[in-house]
């Protein structure tokens, strides 16, 4: 069984069926490029993977664990969905950085909040242990616990900050750690957004047209960063209009038209010898529009 298995994802908005049964699989460390014309349902697919939308039908299995099954309505509690979301990261077309925080805080914020929740849980556990302990030992135990808790806290903080530093270096923005989003170019903002998504170590990182909101001269730096991630462990799904990029970086390409996968295969197969009529027409159009670099 593949690392990620998406089966028969269907999504309707009112009467508009946007995903008409999308299935695909992906191995760990692979990069999947998703291409297709506007309105085909690419964004909707990514949003379903990230639990921002709930598919009407279908299942999602990640690393052997069923994260989503439309036939089971039970596991829809907010906290359960939040846990599942953490398996996925999403980089938006519009970056969506938090404007009131520095670059560094943008990257560390979510991790710090998760760590805090973890710390609180630990504290509650300790309090229970303390309450159960014999009276004469409590004082000593309490002191011990306090020490351990302080250490946990310090470790959490150090860990998150070190990670953020290394991610900043990876996206080439170490010197911008104290800057606010409005002080950055679009390309820089998107690189920060990538670092922010990576900070939580998602199993799969999704990109929704990460360069579409950028001036042409800024797309290169962002694509370079994404390309750089490929060498490592990360499994990625990239929705893109940059055909040359898709071709060179992807292990697998799917072409989505009208909510269905019209074509899938290796970049060679899809780009060099497309079988489907729609794919051919689409590739021709994007070639003509200068989609190739």
């Amino acid at each position: 069984m593949a690392f990620l298995e998406v089966k028969n994802y269907r999504k309707k908005f009112g009467d508009n069926e946007v995903l008409k049964g999308v299935s695909f699989s992906l191995e760990k460390g692979e990069v999947l490029a998703v291409i297709g014309s506007s309105g085909g349902g690419k964004t909707t697919l990514l949003r379903c993977l990230n639990f921002l939308e709930t598919p009407d039908e279908g299942t999602l299995v990640l690393g052997g664990e069923t994260l989503f099954d439309a036939s089971e309505k039970a596991e829809r509690a907010e906290s359960a969905i939040r846990q599942k979301r953490l398996h996925f990261g999403l980089v938006f077309q519009q970056f969506n950085l938090f404007p009131q925080y520095t670059v560094f805080k943008n990257i560390t914020l979510a991790g710090m909040l998760l760590a805090k929740a973890e710390y609180r849980q630990k504290k509650r556990d300790f309090a229970a242990v303390l309450a159960a302990a014999p009276k004469e030992e409590r004082k000593k135990l309490k002191a011990q616990q306090k020490e351990i808790l302080a250490e946990i806290r310090a470790n959490q903080k150090r860990h998150i900050e070190e990670k953020a530093e290394s991610l900043l270096a990876r996206v080439g923005l170490s010197e911008k750690r104290g800057a606010y989003p409005f002080e950055l170019s679009g390309g820089q903002q998107q690189r920060v957004a990538i670092a922010r998504a990576l900070a939580l170590n998602p199993d799969i990182l999704c990109f929704d047209e990460p360069t579409s909101a950028l001036d042409p001269e800024l797309t290169g730096e962002v694509l370079k960063v994404i390309r750089g991630l490929k060498s490592s462990e990360s499994t990625m799904i990239v929705v893109t209009h940059e055909m040359a990029f898709a071709r060179s970086v992807a292990d697998k390409v799917i072409f989505i038209a009208d909510g269905e996968i019209a074509e899938e295969g290796t970049p060679e197969e899809v780009f060099a010898s497309p079988k489907n009529e729609k794919t051919r027409a689409f590739l021709q159009r994007s070639l003509a529009a200068g989609g190739e670099e």
Binding site: E78, F98, L109, A110, L113, L114, Y180
Partner: protein, 213 residues
Amino acid sequence: MFWEVFVALSEGFLVSCELFVLTLLFALPLGLVVAFGSMSKFKPLRAVVRTFVWIIRGTPLMLQVIVIFYGPGLFFGWRALERLIAVLIAFVINYACYFSEIYRGGIESISKGQYEAGQVLGMTKAQIFFRVILLQVVKRIVPPMSNEIITLVKDTSLARIISVVEVLFVAETYLLKGIIWPLFFTAVFYLAFVGVLTVLFHFIEKKLNYFRV
């Protein structure tokens, strides 16, 4: 003579200030509650809240003060509330409704992407609201809020219609005695107070200038 009038007016203005501070204290948070009500996904609640806001914003504050003060006695034969309390209730409700619309505008102006960015990072709804959305909303609503709050300073003068002894009421007692200047002198109090508020809001705006939304 001047000193005596000044002290009397000051005492009146202290009542105005009291009304101002207490109104803000209750109306600012209550407005947020009303704002959430008017944005609720639960349609009946939303309809009720929006209708209520329409009624409050659609009728004169003076009328509301009168209704709250005389209404319980007229309609139910209850004992009237203490004057200042009645005015305070009317003001709090009225201003909470105005504030709620400002809050709503502010909250709805924040892009969906901000919420979604928080969601995909595993934040809870509360964390997203308090850590991500709130400060952006505050930054956006400072100018309209300052307008509304400055209006409140002057609206406190409405309290005199049910004989709350605020600064204009005091001035009017002199007027009845044929002394006119205290009435005009009240402007000094209002101007000074609004001046301080203006500086304060300017300061807050500047403080929030370190980022852009």
